[in-house]
Amino acid sequence: MSFASKMPSLRIDQSDLKCKNGCDYFGNPQWQGYCSKCHREQMMRQRRAEKASTNPSATLPKPEQKKPERGLKLSSHSSFSKFEEKRLRQSETLKKANLLKFSVFKKSSSDDHDHTPEKRPPEFKIPAMVFEGMKHDFRARFPALAPQVDRDARVFVHSFIMDVIKCANVMTVDELSERVQRQYQRFMKHMDTSPHFGNVDSDTKELLLDFVEKHAMTYLHELPSVVFSPSGTDDERLDRAMSERIQQLSWVGERHLECKLDRNSAACRQLLYKAISELLGMDSAMSPGGKLARVRRCCRHVLALCGAPASADDLLPALIFTVLKANPPRLVSNINFVTRFCNAQRLMTGEGGYYFTNLCCAVSFIENLTAESLNMDKKEFDCYMAMPASIGGSAWAAALSLCGCAREAEEQLAAAQALLREARDVQAQAQAVHDNAATFEEQIVKKVQDVLSKTPLEIKPRRELPQFGKFKSSAKPLIDLEPSVVPKETNPEPSDQALAQTGTSVQQPLIDYKDPPIDHKETEAEQPRIDSRVPIALPAPPLTTKDQKEQQILTVDTSSTEPEKLNILGFEVIDRPSPKSPQNLDQNWDLKQTSSLELLTPSLLGFTPFDSRSIDELMTPDEFVSDHLAPGLSNINYDIDLSDFSGDNSLAEDAPKAKDPFSPDGIKKFDPFAPQPSTFAETLEKFNEFSLVDAKTNRPYDPFEIVHRNTDPFSAGLAVTLPQQTTDPFSPQQKEGTSILDDNNSPTAACLLPSPLLPQSSGKPA
């Protein structure tokens, strides 16, 4: 059996004996199936991985390479317990890993440059943010210095941080502190010798040292138990003890310390409060320099508290008092941190150092405070100390809390004001947006109106229709008709359509056209009509509303076209009284042009009236005819008439041909106009263009056909039928046209049209 069992294995052996790695060498079970070479490589890889995973922040430079576990033990035995050590390290690595994630995103070339030369496990990497921040800070602080200096500073900070992290677990705090101090000196020496710093003066070098210290320590400060209340010290315990002690001593007042503080003075309270808040802020400052700055500001307030000729004799008691009232968090840790890792020169000299020394004295005094040091009876002191902490110092506590409340109120007030300002800003911006929207709307409306004014061409044929009605009935009957409710009823419908299509902008003009133009036209235009019975009046009404635009467009064209048009008109009038409507676009244009010109220019008016008269006369009979043909729907009649006339009258066809030079313009204008209304509905000009192109092709050919169709559908409903047959743009146009028709003088006619009786009646008298 054993043999049998071995056999297969033996068989496989031939292939399996080879190294698992696939190299041609034979593997060995002792080497986990690898050949010796691959096995060695594999082991190396494993070790490295172990090192990276289990021993990230470690530690011993040399033993680490051989046995990471030993490194762990070595480093841990200096601190309280293995667990503690492990926990801390884990949290450390976690933190670093988190920071690493950021660094992945923010990886900068400089960062890479800094890291690549030193081959460290990935966990050792200092997040790029640190150096990015340094870069920004450097540029802000030392804009005049060469980039080389910046680079040197960053390189130093990098090596500095690495060094501290490496040594943190191996060294005692004092050793580490010494090492850090030597690092500072090293950098100082580097600045003295490096050519990069050749033209940097000594004061700037001091600042640079502070700068370096700040950034390195700010990063290290965040790492747990490395430099701030480091493992191996009982800083944390002392913090708690100090905090409790200060709480116990809360009864100590200015009287006991013999410092000249006036609790009743608001200024005094304010100063004390400021000093306390600065002192409390020390804990939140990250770098030793930052903490020193806080202490400095605090002590300045305290000095001011003591009065003008302040001396150390006054400063120290007042500072002690301030510390007692402030009870700053982690006081011992902070002081030790600064003492150990701040540049020693900074502590030895300078204002910050002086005040910090005073703070140290104050803390030391509080630690060792006895009845004797307060010049009081031992029994009394003991009584005070036995007293619950909450009772003591109620007066000052109250005063300070008052102060705090006042301060808070001030801050709240400031915040509220800031909010108010912001709110105002927001409001103003909202208003601006609103105005913007309004102007935008206006602009859109204007544009729409412009386009509308350019496009009225379509409208005109319809106007003619109403004109016919007017003319038929003469002004007076028209007026009579207008007041009738019917037209008004009909108007809103088209207007609604127009609204849906073009929006309010269209509506207003329509409305304007409807009522006032009608009146004016009726009164003004009709009168002239009546007087002279100028056909111009027909085009005039639309012109009045859209005169200017038409004028602009037409004036040029008309100047050239006027005579022709006039002639044409004359011909048309004679030959085709009704064709105006059938001709629709082209002829309408002509009519308009002529009319506008005539209206504008008195001389033209003089000429035209005769033609117009004839036209009017001609028109009316046609209308009658149309009415007769389709008694039910006046519109239908018109259309039919128009189509018929256009078909019948060679002149009508000729006329456009004769106008050909004009007609292209007219057509173009028509086309844009026609599509535009549709586009207005969508408020997009682009569509207009497209529609224009289509319209161009379609309209010249189709319109006539459409018109014919229209005649039929009119009875059923123009708007519905047309859109179906024609492209979308047409439908809006037609709708608008219908509305316009209604709006313009025609409304009466339109009104009349739906009610067949009226037009008939009007037609009959004419």
């Binding site: 004295c361 030391s364 005094f365």
Partner: protein, 213 residues
């Protein structure tokens, strides 16, 4: 070497000690306030408790720390002494008690500073000669016995104040030249500034020699 008022080669740290109310702060103010009028226009003047003087052609910045003199703070004010190159020990000639305390102050100073620290005894309030409680001879003898420099001064009139500070600086500078003071030691109270941007490149080695000696 540039001759700007802000360039200096050394920083000396002084402390002023003595009983409460002997006029330590007044002496300091008297000394430093002069700088406002005389030497430096603004920036240095703003700096806390400092004044730049000149000794043997070297500009020296004096950084003077006032200390609290109350008896009850004696135990905790040791950190003031750290790194002081000079100590001005002040008593009030009108109050004998302040003179009597000098020995304990001196003990503290000797214990808490390095041996090269220069101690200067100042009998303040010399303007109040009528109320004198301590004779000059008595104090002079005390100073000689303990190897101290001594002067009677008045912070009020400014008499001898300048001299006291300057003499101390000279003594310190002398000990630097003699090599008795180790500039590299953080506690020496002397900070050498190889300073001035325009200095020739040959200077740094010399400065370093100075440091290492």
């Amino acid at each position: 070497m540039t001759s700007g008022p802000y360039n200096y080669s050394y920083i000396f740290k002084y402390i002023i000690i003595g009983d409460m109310g002997v006029g330590k702060s007044c002496l300091l103010h008297q000394f430093t306030d002069k700088k406002f009028m005389a030497d430096c226009p603004h920036t240095i003047g703003v700096e806390f408790g400092t004044r730049i003087i000149e000794v043997a052609g070297q500009k020296i910045k004096l950084q003077i720390w006032d200390t609290a003199g109350q008896e009850r703070f004696r135990a905790v004010t040791r950190s003031y002494y750290r790194g002081a190159a000079g100590a001005l020990m002040v008593y009030d000639i009108t109050r004998r008690s302040t003179y009597n305390h000098l020995s304990s102050w001196l003990t503290d100073t000797r214990n808490l500073t390095n041996p090269s620290t220069v101690i200067f005894l100042i009998g303040n309030k010399s303007d109040l000669d009528g109320q004198r409680d301590v004779t000059y001879e008595e104090a002079k003898q005390f100073a000689d016995e303990n190897g101290l420099m001594f002067v009677e001064a008045s912070a009020k009139t400014g008499q001898n104040v300048e001299e006291a500070f300057l003499e101390t600086a000279k003594k310190i500078y002398q000990s630097i030249q003699d090599g008795r003071l180790d500039l590299n030691a953080a506690e020496s109270g002397v900070q050498h500034k190889p300073a001035s941007p325009g200095r020739p490149l040959a200077a740094p080695p010399a400065a370093r020699d100075n440091c290492t000696c």
